[in-house]
């Protein structure tokens, strides 16, 4: 039992944080908002240079060969930076799915992802829209609940659906399933889709932590400078207590997300439960953080010009990505009340049947 990250993992987190701080400024985010796709192939290539898209790609395909425990701290950093490139859809979800599908498809696409030369988006029956489909080269799409198809983006009908968060690019996708596009069916397809969903939810949860932390930092900075009644407003308890409350929620969401990453990486039988717990608490922290930090900013926070809403909108988007709260609550309910997941003292680290 050692619930810590190792030195390499922490070093990589610092490296990625420093890199993103330099590259993904709020100005960069806003510039991307004004482009047609909201995405930048050049930026994606740059991210590939530090290994982000290919983090989960096996080394034989030019990737870093790491797992979700390595990735979770970095995903939090991408959330802190407000980075909206297809990190979740491609790096966190499509890569492991391609790895599991294997064969020629993996051989063809994984190396391209690792070098930043391809974007792959994933559709799931429980997720209404496909994230980043509009810039994808390949789509991994479900047909019903028990078929997975690999479809070239040029062969699909993709309609972008503008959303509240200008960084969030989601689309309706339709395609004609054929035997040639079908890469998995039956139990195998269901297993791939279930894993994809958990990975998407985990990655979104980790990003929500980072977004929440960034909003706290922005609010602390603003309330320490802004003066009213002759004092920084951050010296007033009413303001302090708002932010302390967010901090409590955030710090108790983080270990839940990190444990979920461990359960995904290790293939725990409780993976779905752990991921749903993580998605619930992390996104709750994010949405609560958005509300409280907006209040602490006052009117200036209510403007388009102030950067706070870059992360507020991220927090709202992530809450809606890869399963909204009722779906995840339903999965917790099933696990606990119907499937008899272990409960009570001494059960947190045990597996069913152990």
């Amino acid at each position: 039992m050692d619930f810590r990250f190792n030195e390499d993992q922490e070093l990589l987190q610092t490296t990625v944080r420093d890199f993103l701080e330099g590259e993904i400024t709020p100005e960069v985010v806003r510039e991307l908002w004004d482009t047609d796709t909201g995405r930048s192939p050049a930026l994606w290539k740059t991210l590939a240079e530090i290994g982000l898209p290919g983090l989960l790609v096996p080394e034989e395909y030019g990737g870093m060969g790491m797992d979700e425990v390595d990735f979770v701290l970095l995903l939090e950093e991408t959330g802190r930076a407000g980075l909206a490139e297809p990190i979740v859809s491609t790096a966190a979800v499509a890569v492991p799915m391609l790895r599991e599908i294997g064969g020629a498809l993996a051989k063809e696409w994984l190396p391209k992802i690792a070098t930043g030369d391809a974007v792959v988006a994933v559709g799931h029956p429980d997720v209404a829209f496909v994230e980043d489909a509009h810039v994808a080269d390949l789509l991994l799409l479900s047909n019903g609940a028990d078929e997975v198809h690999a479809v070239l983006a040029v062969d699909a009908d993709i309609t972008l659906q503008p959303a509240n968060d200008p960084s969030r690019k989601i689309a309706s996708v339709s395609f004609t399933p054929t035997q040639a596009t079908c890469v998995a069916s039956g139990d195998e397809a269901r297993a791939f889709l279930a894993a994809a969903f958990d990975r998407g939810a985990l990655a979104s949860a980790a990003q929500a932590l980072g977004a929440c932390d960034r909003m706290i930092a922005l609010a602390v900075e603003y309330t320490s400078e802004r003066k009213q009644f002759g004092k920084p407003i951050g010296s007033f308890q009413a303001v302090k207590h708002h932010l302390a409350g967010v901090k409590v929620k955030l710090e108790y969401a983080r270990p839940v997300v990190q444990r979920a990453a461990h359960s995904v990486a290790s293939g725990s039988p409780l993976r779905a439960l752990h991921v749903s717990m993580a998605k619930l608490v992390a996104c709750e922290a994010g949405v609560f953080g958005a509300k409280q930090t907006l209040q602490c900013h006052g009117a200036i926070g209510y403007t388009w010009e102030q950067d706070l809403h870059v992360w507020m909108r991220r927090a709202w988007s992530l809450d809606r990505s890869w399963g909204r709260a009722p779906l995840h609550m339903g999965r917790v309910q099933t696990a606990l009340l119907e499937d008899g997941a272990p409960m009570g003292s001494g059960c947190t680290f045990s597996s069913p049947g152990a």
Binding site: V220, S224, K231, L280, M329, S345
Partner: protein
């Protein structure tokens, strides 16, 4: 990251489980805030200490088992799982004990710790005074150093209040103003005081549950030997902060307690599912997730401590989280019980209501004691977030 227990840790768990199964009293003990219950709990602590389980993480020479904090967490999980009694000496074993470990002289460690582990000496806490509650530095009780035929001593005058376990305890710890000209955090000294000394008057106070869980302690020319000073004279605030950290932090509130409450809450929901709304169900599940989150964060903290890390202002995050969670769980339980939630245990229709009402009354004290949650939010915003004072 390794989230599995080693075979040695599993063996330790099995040992604890086996011993507890053979020794935990079949009938629940009376509350330790009654004379009869206090006696029962002291007897239980004697049995626990005899088995070597009273203070799992303490060194063997002080009455402990010499285990590490992870093993202590495992023991706590088994302790709650076995439904074992509450710890009457928690002020001693979880708060003062670690403080003596840090600040005590070798003589003090040998004098106090083994008797504390055995609960031969039960400790009351003397944090608050009538004018020093949230404003803990406003201590007015004086302890003036002097010498007489029997040696160096402090002459103590003043009043402590809300002294938990004061009614049936043997000793009291707290801060006293040893420099009468000093103000605020300066000039305070941490002193250990036997409650049977001449000049000590203990007046029990009935708590919300009607039992004397705390007391007023009047100190009128009480002569306390100087050897009962803990840490340096004038450094009382520093010593007390260390104790308060243990109180807010993980020692007093091990996750097992909340996991156990969460499990009972989910079971209560299951039994009454047909009568309860989906909103309540979701809140029950959220509480269960909260108890898991608390557990995970504790294991993360202990992993960090075992690797040489320290705990600081984070204990304020901890205190808010567990106290709000505990209260929410009990509120939900009463909501699920509906009309029967209002019944005292002896009521004819009270079968199956368990001890939720009593637990609710106790949970209400959580956001108040060990520094109110408002004080904790100040600490978080100033010391963790760096907001202006």
């Amino acid at each position: 990251m390794d989230l599995t227990f080693t075979p040695e840790q599993e063996k330790f768990r099995a040992q604890a489980r086996e011993w507890l199964a053979a020794h935990v009293p079949a009938e629940p003990l009376k509350s330790f805030d009654t004379a009869e219950g206090a006696k029962q709990h002291r007897e239980w602590e004697h049995v626990l200490n005899g088995g070597g389980w009273a203070m799992v993480p303490w060194p063997v020479e002080y009455g402990g088992r010499g285990a590490n904090l992870l093993e202590w967490l495992i023991f706590e999980e088994e302790y709650y799982r076995a439904g074992a009694p509450k710890r009457i000496n928690q002020n001693g074993i979880f708060l003062l004990g670690p403080t003596i470990m840090e600040y005590g002289t070798p003589e003090q460690k040998a004098r106090f710790l083994p008797k504390m582990a055995a609960s031969e000496e039960v400790w009351a806490q003397g944090w608050s005074e009538p004018n020093a509650g949230s404003d803990m530095a406003n201590i007015q009780t004086t302890a003036i150093r002097g010498t007489d035929g029997d040696g160096e001593h402090f002459m103590v005058n003043g009043q402590k209040t809300w002294a938990s376990r004061g009614a049936f305890g043997d000793w009291l710890f707290g801060m006293f103003r040893t420099d009468p000209d000093s103000e605020r955090h300066k000039g305070l000294t941490f002193i250990l005081l036997p409650l049977d000394l001449p000049g000590v008057t203990v007046r029990p106070i009935e708590q919300l549950d009607g039992l004397p869980g705390f007391a007023e302690v009047f100190l009128d020319n009480v002569r306390v030997p100087a050897e009962y000073q803990l840490g340096e004279e004038g450094q009382g605030w520093q010593v007390a902060m260390s104790t308060a950290g243990f109180e807010r932090g993980l020692m007093l509130r091990s996750p097992a307690r909340f996991q156990d409450t969460a499990r009972r809450l989910v079971e209560l929901y299951r039994e009454n599912a047909d009568d309860v709304s989906e909103t309540v169900r979701d809140d029950v599940l959220r509480c269960w997730i909260g108890a898991e989150a608390y557990t995970l964060e504790t294991f993360r903290t202990v992993s960090r401590l075992l690797a040489g890390g320290k705990i600081g202002a984070e204990s304020s995050l901890n205190k808010i989280f567990w106290s709000e969670l505990d209260l929410k769980m009990h509120e939900l339980a009463l909501e699920i019980l509906g009309d029967r939630g209002d019944l005292l245990p002896g009521a004819p229709a009270a079968e199956g209501v368990g001890n939720w009402l009593d637990g609710y009354l106790f949970a209400l004290s959580g956001p108040i004691y060990a520094g109110t949650n408002e004080i904790q939010r100040n600490i978080i915003s100033e010391r963790i977030l760096g907001m202006p004072r």
